[in-house]
């Protein structure tokens, strides 16, 4: 009796399901899903059921791999057959600061070989902190006839010869974006490798290369690429040359100037000013090497619609900055050097009410004699004038708990709060107390906080606060902080959304490391260097969590690099 009832109810469920399925064909589902761009949304979709998993994988055209060792290229290719665009990140972030040894890995070549076989129509490749050789760039250039966009950030292992290969062979190139990389800059002749028939370039960024390029070739290239919207020059391009380029490219939306210092006649200055102001679409401005008060006014008319101003290569003084900002009412993002000092930041607060992001870099980070730069006063001034501020990176030499409390009271919407008090372990300079309450205020007030970098003298209390309050925190950077294992345990026990944790020079040991076993499965990466973790602790961790890629190296400084749940293994060279 019961079993027949059960059978009947099962049949009705089955027929409901099949009715549903037939009324919602896969093609429709794929079409709908193809409109989804966010990779996180797509991951969620793929978990709903098998049908949705399949529809999602067939409709995905862009894949984002935040940790190149989390999966093998073969598995990626098997799951996603129609990829046109790949974003790959490799080394731990601390490799930017020379904490990761050379030849660590993250080599792109194995990926390119698989892509050449499985994705011959690949169009875009965006790499961050990967190792890429000239041979790989040449292989890339000849293997993908539809290749359009190459973006390299913080990569190393290649030279300008590799760029020459790209310029020579990629007939459909629209984007060549070479950001800060460890590139062997042999010379500027790569730019001359673009054929004369080549007209498709929309994005050209070679700002961080140092060699001279052939200006005639550049001028012709810019002249014939009518769709160019991003042009970021390197330091070798003079003001006079800039003017000549702009005359032929007034459509530019993002401009990175070359050297902003040259003896100009009055007429040349006026021509420059005119060329700049004719760029009606310009919303992003950078470069400006060696810019001084003398020529900055040439920019004023061009800054009316500017939303992003990057002055991190121009050591401006406060007065110069103030004058410039008076012409930048729409500014949303501002990067400056601390040469502008607190007075400059006061001007930011006064002139930029729409500001959302501020980055203040140290002009002389390694000079102990410097007593200038910015203090807590500048940051506080900005917070009063810019209530929409949600992203800050701030390098300073002094800070107080009270100031930070004021700042987050004024700007409660912080998503990224990266504070670097440059002397490790420095307390509140007024009270001599630890900076615990500062970061406590940040995590209590800023409920949307996704990324946090802490600094100064910090006890375990900071980490208690973080674990308890930072519910949306995904990335945490810690250096020279904490008192005991308890600090790290608090973070690993709290912070439900933690994905990346990087720790250096802290007294966290094996007990702390092993308290996070469950947590590591949902994280992308953990880095610990110069802490109290021992090899035995790492072995234990590796044994307990066989699916984690645990890498522990002795030596000086020894470090533990724990990469997230692995479906593949990390193929390393001996080093």
């Amino acid at each position: 009796m019961e079993s027949s009832e059960l059978k009947r109810s099962k049949d009705s469920v089955n027929s409901c399901e099949s009715a549903r399925r037939s009324s919602f064909p896969d093609e429709v589902l794929e079409r709908v899903l193809s409109l989804l761009k966010s990779h996180r949304d797509r991951s969620s979709v793929s978990l709903v059921c098998k049908d949705w998993y399949n529809a999602e994988r067939w409709s995905r055209t862009h894949v984002f791999i935040g940790n190149c060792y989390s999966v093998s290229p073969e598995i990626v290719a098997r799951r996603f057959p129609r990829i046109r665009s790949v974003t790959l990140k490799g080394k731990p972030r601390f490799s930017d600061f020379n904490l990761v040894p050379e030849n660590w890995g993250a080599d792109i070549h194995a990926w390119l070989v698989v892509f050449a076989a499985k994705y011959p129509f690949l169009e875009e490749l965006r790499l961050k902190r990967m190792a890429i050789s000239d041979e790989s760039l040449e292989f890339l250039a000849v293997s993908f006839p539809n290749f359009k966009a190459l973006s390299l950030l913080s990569c190393d292992g290649f030279s300008t010869n590799g760029l020459a290969a790209i310029a020579t062979h990629c007939k459909n190139l629209t984007e060549l974006d070479i950001q800060e990389n460890g590139i062997d800059d042999i010379g500027g002749s790569w730019l001359s490798c673009f054929p004369e028939s080549f007209t498709t370039l929309e994005v050209l960024n070679f700002a961080n290369l140092t060699s001279d390029i052939n200006f005639d070739m550049l001028e012709k290239l810019v002249g014939r690429c009518k769709s160019m919207r991003v042009l970021k020059l390197n330091r070798s391009v003079s003001l006079e040359q800039l003017q000549r380029l702009l005359v032929n490219a007034p459509q530019l939306a993002e401009l990175g100037t070359g050297l902003f210092s040259q003896e100009l006649t009055i007429r040349e200055y006026e021509e420059l000013e005119s060329a700049l102001s004719n760029c009606k679409n310009m919303h992003t401005l950078s470069g400006l090497w060696d810019a001084t008060g003398m020529y900055l006014p040439a920019l004023y008319l061009a800054c009316t619609h500017l939303t992003f101003l990057n002055l991190s290569y121009a050591a401006l003084q406060s007065v110069e900055l103030a004058k410039l900002l008076a012409h930048c009412p729409q500014l949303k993002r501002l990067w400056v050097l601390d040469s502008v000092e607190d007075k400059g930041l006061e001007a930011v607060g006064l002139n930029c009410p729409l500001l959302e992001e501020l980055r203040v870099f140290p002009a002389d980070p390694f000079d102990n004699e410097i007593v200038h730069g910015v203090t807590e006063a500048g940051f506080v001034a900005v917070s009063f004038g810019c209530p929409r501020l949600h992203y800050v990176l701030y390098f300073c030499r002094q800070m107080t708990n009270a100031a930070v409390a004021t700042i987050v009271q004024n700007c409660p919407d912080f998503t990224h709060f990266r504070l670097c008090i440059m002397n490790p372990g420095q307390p509140d300079y007024l009270t001599n107390e630890p900076m615990d309450e500062a970061f406590g205020a940040v995590v209590k007030t800023c409920t949307k906080l996704q990324r946090l970098s802490v600094s100064g003298l910090l006890t375990d209390l900071t980490f208690e606060y973080i674990g308890r309050y930072a519910k949306n925190l995904e990335t945490l950077s810690v250096a020279f902080a904490g008192r005991s294992d308890w600090g790290m345990q608090c973070v690993l026990g709290g912070c439900p959304k933690l994905r990346k944790l990087e720790i250096r020079d802290c007294p966290f040991g094996n007990a702390a490391l092993l308290s996070g076993l469950e947590k590591y499965e949902s994280m992308r990466s953990l880095w610990m260097s110069a802490c109290n973790v021992t090899m035995n602790g790492c072995r234990l961790l590796a044994r307990e969590m066989p699916r984690l890629n645990v890498e522990a190296r002795g030596g000086m400084p020894h470090h533990l690099s724990l990469l997230s749940e692995m479906l593949g293994t990390r193929q390393t060279e001996n080093y």
Partner: protein, 204 residues
Amino acid sequence: MSPENGKLLPETDAGGLNFKATELTLGLPGESRVTSDGVAKLGSKRGFSETVDLSLGDNKDSNKLGQFQINVPEAAKSPVSKAQVVGWPPVRGYPKRGTKSCKYVKVAVDGAPYLRKVDLEMYNTYQQLLTSLEDMFSCFTIRNYLNDKKLERVNGIEYVPTYEDKDGDWMLVGDVPWHSSNDTYKTFKRKLNEEALYMKHPRN
């Protein structure tokens, strides 16, 4: 190792871990970490104070050992000297922000046994540069004066400083204001009358 296996370190033995490969060793940054002959080195961590004093990359500090500890000061002690801590403050190495580039140029005199280098950034005027070059090469000119018969005919040493700009033209030094010319110098020569005593100045 199969991709699906998910084993940990490259040289895994049957037990799952190659202890030799994971053994703590001492080495300076950049040194090979894996000792191919598996010689055991002392596996001690550095003390924090030793970190501070370490001249990184300098071999003579390789003997500093000690138990690693972080002494988080209770009261404000003098902060760690920034310059001696690797990777701190966390600013990217390239490109340098806001710092002037060093413009070291090679200066070569024909007949001289070795070259010199000058930093163009050190000078604010042409005169300063030329004076400095004269000082640097005074010994050579004296030697040449004694050895070279042609020079004996010259009443004093007459130099006409010239340089090759990036278009490949030979230009007389001094027409263009000092600061703007720095970026167009390619080769720097000093001609002695018709006889060229070349001072080459390839871009660094």
